[in-house]
Symmetry: C2
Subunit: 126 residues, 2 copies
DNA sequence: CGGCATCCAACCGGATACTG
DNA sequence: CAGTATCCGGTTGGATGCCG
């Protein structure tokens, strides 16, 4: 399926009155799991290969250690990522994505695509 | 492109180290525009054909008139939706999606898809 | 390096009441 | 119906400093 067909399918499905209740519920479930400013950028960063705290931190503009620490803990608890202690000296901590984490791939890709098109639109206007 | 291929492509692209800076920026731009609990459900509702305030309100579980009012105003200002006064008696107000609004279709579809799969996973576990 | 503790401001958003 | 007004509590999240 190419982009044009995908878009048409999107609009068709979005315009359909069927299963609206189920869809809004699914939507709100997803938004709940991804709530806040940082979970998606963190997932993206870890899926991009970043493994260590400082690396993840540096890869996300604006995040603080406090928020990264908090989110990593929460996301570990929710099986979104795995925290591994590599028993070297000094100890190295590694965060890695779970399959569950990868399941957000399509959402993140669509968001990146939208963001790029958005910047393009802004450039064209000015 | 089928789902399996799409997933592989997602992982491939997500694993690529190129353009990480541009992508995280695009991602954060998108998250900024869509920030908060309600914008995505509202977009979905309006794209689903809901036009009037009460209809939109009823279609989104949990939203209050205050938040809906606030978001609709903000989203009108940002050209995401259009507010039309139908000069009937009594006056009818209609909200409709702009092209800009439709551009979120793919993101919303992916979120609905994820949410449904999420519920399915939970059902299978229990 | 990989965090935790504390303080604090902003705001998000719920409840409720009210208006034309 | 289509909102506005007010109140206010909880959470988000930034700044900073500290620890092993």
């Amino acid at each position: 399926m190419n982009d044009k067909e995908l878009l048409e399918k999107s609009n068709e499905i979005l315009s359909s009155p069927r299963n609206q209740d189920e869809e809004i519920q699914a939507l709100q479930d997803t938004l709940y799991v991804l709530s806040g400013k940082w979970k998606i950028p963190i997932i993206n960063s870890i899926c991009n290969g970043n493994r260590r705290f400082r690396d993840i931190e540096r890869s996300i503009p604006g995040i603080t250690t406090r928020m990264l620490s908090k989110e990593l803990k929460e996301m570990s608890a929710n099986q979104l990522i795995k925290r591994t202690v590599v028993d070297d000296t000094p100890v190295i901590i590694e965060y890695s994505p779970t399959d569950y984490c990868h399941s957000f791939g399509s959402i993140i890709l669509e968001m990146i695509k939208w963001g790029k098109a958005h910047r393009q639109r802004l450039r064209e206007k000015s």
